[in-house]
Amino acid sequence: MRIAVQESSFDLGAEANAFAAGVAGCGAVVTFTGIVRDVAQGDLDVMEIEHYPGMTEKAISKIAEEAKSRWSLGDVLVIHRYGRLAPGEQIMMVATAARHRKDAFEAAEYLMDYLKSRAPFWKKEFTSDGAEWVESKDEDEDALRRW
C-alpha cells in the first residue's frame, strides 16, 4: 500500500505500470485518475487545492485500510496533489488490485467516494470572474450511503 500526498505532478502511466507489476496473483487492476477540468464557462485559469497536513495522510490511510478490510485486495495506491494546478493537469489517482474484477472496481469506487468527502482537501477555482471555493455536492455525500 502506498499513499502519497504531494505538490508535484505524477506520471499516471509510470505509476500504473509499477503498480501492475507488483501485484502477483491478481487478475484485475483498476485505476482512477482525476483531472482538472475547465468549469462550465470555459475560463478556468487555475485550481488551488488546500489540505490539512498531517490529517490528510491519516484520513487517506484510514480510508484505504477500510477498503482493504472490506474487499480482498492485493494492493492499493493513492496519490493526491495539493497546490496550484492548471486545467488538464492530473489531480490524483487511485489504483486497486484484486483476484477478481468486482473487488477491484468496488474498492476503487469506495476510495473515490471517501476521498471526495472525507479527506481534508478544499478546491478553489480561479477564473476571469474571480475566485470561488468549490462547494461540496449533496450527491457526493449521498454516494457514501451505498457502502
Partner: protein, 81 residues
Amino acid sequence: MDVLYFAWVRERIGLPKERVETSAATVSDLVAELRAREPRYEAAFADLSALRVALDQELADFDAPLAGVREVAFFPPMTGG
C-alpha cells in the same frame, strides 16, 4: 490549544492557526466563545451546518468534549478527489 482554520473559514477569520486559551467543555462552547470575539469570527461561524470540525486530526461532532484535545480544526465540507 491550537485552533486551525482552512479554506473560506481561514479567509474569513484571516489567519490559518492561533493559540486559544479556553475552558470550553465542548466544541460548541468553543465556537460560542470565538463568535463572541469579533465580527470576523461571527461571520465564519454563522452557519454551523456549513462547517466541519476535527479534533486532533479526526473528524468529530460539535457536541464532542474538548478534554485532552490539543488541536481543533474548523473547515467547510471537504472537496477532495
